[in-house]
């Protein structure tokens, strides 16, 4: 193990480590801690210039109540859910199929198609922006959730295919061959042999895509406008103009907007990290 395990270090370092650990964490999370404190402060604190001191009163319920009952925030949040969940489902369906095809079969062009998906996943969004906006307009889907969903599904399929294909590659191939020898049809092999083995990959992808899509901002402002279909990342800017310079409310709003992926991360941590670090170990 590297660095040297703590148990084998000097007593002094052991103690300093135990002290340093929480201290570095506090410094690391300082901006967030500040916002969390902002969000429970009364407005008066900001008027009086008490930005960084302790809150003069505890206004958690007033501030968050305002976010939920006196703004469009709940609508934006709900839009985010309605965009994110179908995207996750769509991506998983499409990419488990493409991943299966590229991971199991040997055919000409396999690697080429695989690399096309990877390369497409890396392109800058801006090169897609004008044509995709145009396409969405011509499908009459501009400023709709569906328009955003369709694009997200298509774009994320690149990353998901990379992920699924590599995962399927690592499955024991004799299993598939055995099923073939038994005369099991190919699509049934997919459904009943491969898919059940892919559960960890499906879970990892689901949390990753959920986070990516929830946090998307660029496409939200390119393909939608207004509270009817905009997700919360875009909504937070109009929320902020509604409460200009009301830092306690803007902070509370930001925390609410950021919370769902954070909750997802803490609940599904193992899958999330397994997904993100795929390939970090050979």
């Amino acid at each position: 193990m590297f660095p040297k395990p703590l148990e084998k270090s000097s007593r002094n370092w052991q103690i300093s480590y135990q002290v340093l650990l929480p201290l570095t964490l506090i410094v690391w999370l300082l901006p967030l801690i500040a916002v969390a404190v902002f969000s429970i402060k009364p407005e008066a604190d900001f008027v009086n210039g008490n930005y960084w001191g302790l809150p003069s009163s505890f206004e958690f319920f007033t501030n968050y109540g305002k976010v939920f009952f006196e703004s469009d925030m709940p609508r934006y949040l709900w839009n985010s859910v309605l965009i994110t969940v179908p995207t996750v489902i769509g991506c998983i369906i499409l990419s488990s199929m493409t991943g299966f095809a590229l991971g199991v079969y040997k055919f000409r062009g396999n690697l080429l198609i695989f690399f096309m998906f990877i390369a497409g996943n890396f392109v800058p969004f801006q090169i897609l922006m004008v044509p995709v906006r145009d396409l969405t307009l011509s499908l009459n889907l501009y400023d709709t959730k569906l328009g955003l969903i369709l694009f997200h599904v298509a774009f994320q399929t690149g990353f998901c295919t990379l992920f699924m294909r590599n995962f399927i590659r690592a499955l024991p191939f004799p299993l598939i061959e055995a099923a073939r020898v038994e005369g099991v049809r190919e699509w049934r092999i997919f459904l009943f042999v491969v898919l059940p083995l892919m559960k960890p990959a499906l879970a990892a992808l689901a949390v990753l895509i959920f986070t990516f899509i929830w946090n998307d901002y660029f496409w939200a402002i390119v393909l939608t406008q207004g509270p009817d279909s905009q997700p919360v990342t875009a909504g937070i800017t109009s929320f902020n103009s509604q409460f200009r310079a009301a830092y306690h409310l803007m902070s509370a709003g930001s925390i609410v907007a950021a919370l769902p992926p954070v909750a997802m991360f803490f609940l599904m941590q193992k899958h999330f990290i397994a997904g993100l670090t795929l390939g970090a170990v050979k």
């Binding site: 300082l30 902002f38 390369a119 969004f125 774009f155 830092y247 990290i273 993100l276 170990v281």
Partner: protein, 305 residues
């Protein structure tokens, strides 16, 4: 009819292994082509036109590129800022490695520490940008308070000063990116071969020497991925700039991705052709890296076969 279906079935049966992958690929490829592959070519096509996004496109040949590369000041600023992003963003890799080395211990509650260190990455860039813009507020911001203690005063605040604004935004971007690199290295460190470490220790290697000659070579896959995601992240920087400065002050924080958006869809009018030309330039910059990534992956694939 009946004979036709049996014939079809037997044809499918005979070619099942050859046909199935294409059937499975079809929906994915169609979608991906429609929304990703074809738009790339369309953008290149549009970049040779003048177009407001609604009316007819007018063919202007390479005029957009000539204007862009022939002394467009906004383009030059954006391009240099992109380079700053690229270089400084790479700091996330050594920073992430340092934190992961610091956290790679087995003490009580270390798992919670690791997750808390990681968690800036999970928050949307919009929120991180907002949080940092409050952190940087002139006079009232915590950053200004702290620098004030040591007697440094940045005129107009970090984000209000053209000399510091871009660096302020990059610092905000480094925060989640470092967390990402950290988690990659923590996973990599977990897989480091303990026997090699022990053997090196017996040979008297320790500290930085051990890190450089024994550990880092074993972390190569993690470093590769950290490199890929950091480069892509640096060139995709848009959210931070849009939220924190909106390109200002005096356009000093523009990058190509933001400038493109501004030209194509801003209140100054829709200049889609010019925007597309900027996007194409950005695409070609990215293509250098994409080519390199694909080439490395191809080497790996060949090794497996």
């Amino acid at each position: 009819m009946a004979t036709a279906t049996t014939q079809n079935r037997s044809w499918y049966r005979r070619n099942e292994i050859a046909v199935t992958p294409w059937l499975f690929l079809l929906p994915g490829i169609l979608f991906f082509a429609l929304y990703v592959i074809i738009p790339i070519f369309q953008s290149v096509w549009i970049s040779f036109h003048e177009w407001d996004g609604l009316g007819e496109k007018t063919w202007v040949g390479t005029a957009n590129y000539e204007r862009l590369l022939g002394g467009d000041r906004k383009f030059e600023t954006s391009f240099w800022n992109n380079l700053k992003w690229l270089v400084l963003y790479l700091l996330a890799i050594p920073m992430g490695l340092s934190i992961s080395l610091f956290l790679n211990q087995t003490v009580r509650g270390i798992r919670l520490y690791k997750s808390l260190f990681f968690f800036p990455f999970v928050i949307s860039q919009v929120v991180v940008g907002l949080v940092f813009s409050w952190f940087y507020l002139p006079n009232d911001g915590l950053f200004d308070v702290i620098t004030g203690l040591v007697g440094i005063d940045i005129k107009g605040g970090v984000l209000g000063n053209p000399n510091t604004a871009t660096y302020g935004i990059i610092a905000a971007g480094l925060w989640p990116q470092t967390a990402y690199c950290m988690i990659l290295y923590l996973t990599g460190l977990n897989a480091v071969d303990p026997e090699q470490v022990e053997a090196a220790r017996l040979d008297g290697a320790k500290g930085l020497k051990m890190l450089w000659y024994v550990i880092i070579p074993q972390l190569k896959p993690a470093t590769f991925i950290a490199f890929v995601v950091t480069i892509i992240g640096a060139l995709r920087s848009f959210d931070f700039i849009a939220v924190m400065t909106n390109g200002g002050p005096f356009g000093s924080t523009r990058v190509l991705s933001f400038y493109m958006f501004e030209e194509s869809l801003s209140e100054f009018g829709f200049r889609m052709g010019y925007g597309a030309a900027i996007a194409v330039v950005l695409f070609f910059i990215m293509l250098i890296f994409i080519g390199y990534f694909l080439w490395s992956m191809y080497q790996d694939e060949k090794g497996v076969r």
